[in-house]
Symmetry: C2
Subunit: 259 residues, 2 copies
């Protein structure tokens, strides 16, 4: 029997996770282990400074007072009856594209699953409103079913983004690379009731560096974007370059003299 | 005049950041923008749900009630008089090696700096106790000075780890790749005063996959490890493989029929 762990960063009661849970239930024995409330932009954060409570609010549905990453590690190591065959995260309310994925609780949950050797997929809907979770869940089921049959490359998860269009308008799937976003003016200044200045991160305008094969490009063309993301953040090209061009002995400079 | 932004995840009062600040002060006009308290394992998390306060506790030293990532974005965009020439993060109390860097507030601060196009370096001391911050700061100054003269590859930061040995025992610098760590039994079960079960993440044993050129290997041999880390998490090899071998039309399966 296929065992599936479902999580997200919008919280256990979010409509996106319920749509995903419904779709996964048709593929196997499905468990939800998800944060008790919204944990957006949590990044890949673990709660180490306090213990966590796992409340089984319905059969096979656990609410955790922690981050998406906490949920995956608890689910895999403590709450599920066996190691799951797949971790699915989402369906996130909003895009997880480009560099932004390093902030994403949704993607971080899939990173955590991958770290434990479980194939993992993150799902997000690119929209500001009118989230088409049912359309996304329809395709998520097909994608997960395919991954269960074909597995994934070593140390690699899939980051899936759905365009905000109806099922009929989706043109297909593109395997993409992570795009690049440029931020501008994304901190607002505000004041508390006593006139002290505060800063609120968010808002502002963003731009995308366009280019072929990027995640954002595919979504804008009404394709489902699937980006293979790996855990090895080493810039291997830079590693070779730095070894060849940097004089490490120069870097240490007058160390010998001072030793 | 070189402008330097110093941050960390151990908090503005940690000894590691004070040692780093001292070393950086000899290289340029240095600002600290750091969390008001420890924010370890914060990952690359941004605080979006509330405004942030920046308290200037000494000249050019700002304490922020947020994450390391918050500190870097506020420092670059609001608090410093100009865009810094470099962001330095640390010196972290403990290693940031292998896959663990995705959890790291220290490394995430350097990721944030890189996202804003500022060369960024994360520094950590590999130790459980007896942290040799002065030794690390001595070498951090040399490394930062070299980076300021030679810049860094596009979209790439340096993750630097110091072995826990005296200055004389350090054998030199190795340019390394991110290693891989395997976790085992890293969640403890505990009970609250009313007998309810809780889970506390941490502890347990960890193993390292050994291999040439890995960060952990270099540190164990008493070298300073410098790993070039980039923001593009795309597994480009997998991208090519999946495009060639996956039948995306198969993946969608009976979509046409259901459309």
């Amino acid at each position: 029997m296929t065992v599936i762990l479902v999580t997200n960063d919008d919280g256990v009661h979010a409509p996106g996770i319920l749509a995903l849970y419904g779709a996964m239930n048709e593929l196997g024995d499905t468990y939800i282990v998800a944060p008790d409330r919204e944990r957006s932009a949590a990044g890949h954060s673990l709660t180490l400074h306090r213990p966590l409570k796992a409340e089984e609010i319905r059969a096979q549905v656990f609410s955790i007072n922690g981050t998406p990453t906490d949920c995956v590690t608890l689910g895999i190591n403590k709450l599920l009856p066996q190691k799951p065959d797949i971790v699915v995260s989402g369906i996130n309310r909003g895009a997880n594209l480009g560099d932004d994925i390093t902030y994403s609780g949704t993607v971080s949950a899939a990173i955590e699953g991958t770290m434990f050797g479980v194939p993992s997929v993150a799902f997000s809907v690119v929209s500001d409103k009118d989230f088409q979770y049912e359309t996304a869940a329809f395709f998520a089921k097909k994608i997960v079913s395919y991954v269960l049959r074909h597995s994934l490359p070593y140390d690699t998860l899939l980051n899936v983004n759905f365009p905000e269009v109806s099922r009929q308008e989706i043109k297909g799937i593109k395997i993409t690379r992570q795009g690049k976003r440029i931020y501008e003016n994304s901190i607002q200044e505000t004041y508390n009731p006593w006139g002290e200045k505060y800063y609120w991160i968010g808002g502002g305008r963003t731009f995308w560096e366009h280019g072929d094969e990027a995640d954002m490009e595919a979504v804008q063309q009404n394709y489902i974007s699937i980006t293979p993301i790996h855990l090895d953040l080493t810039n291997h090209a830079a590693l070779t370059y730095l070894r060849d061009s940097w004089k490490v002995s120069d870097m240490l400079g007058d160390t010998d003299e001072k030793l």
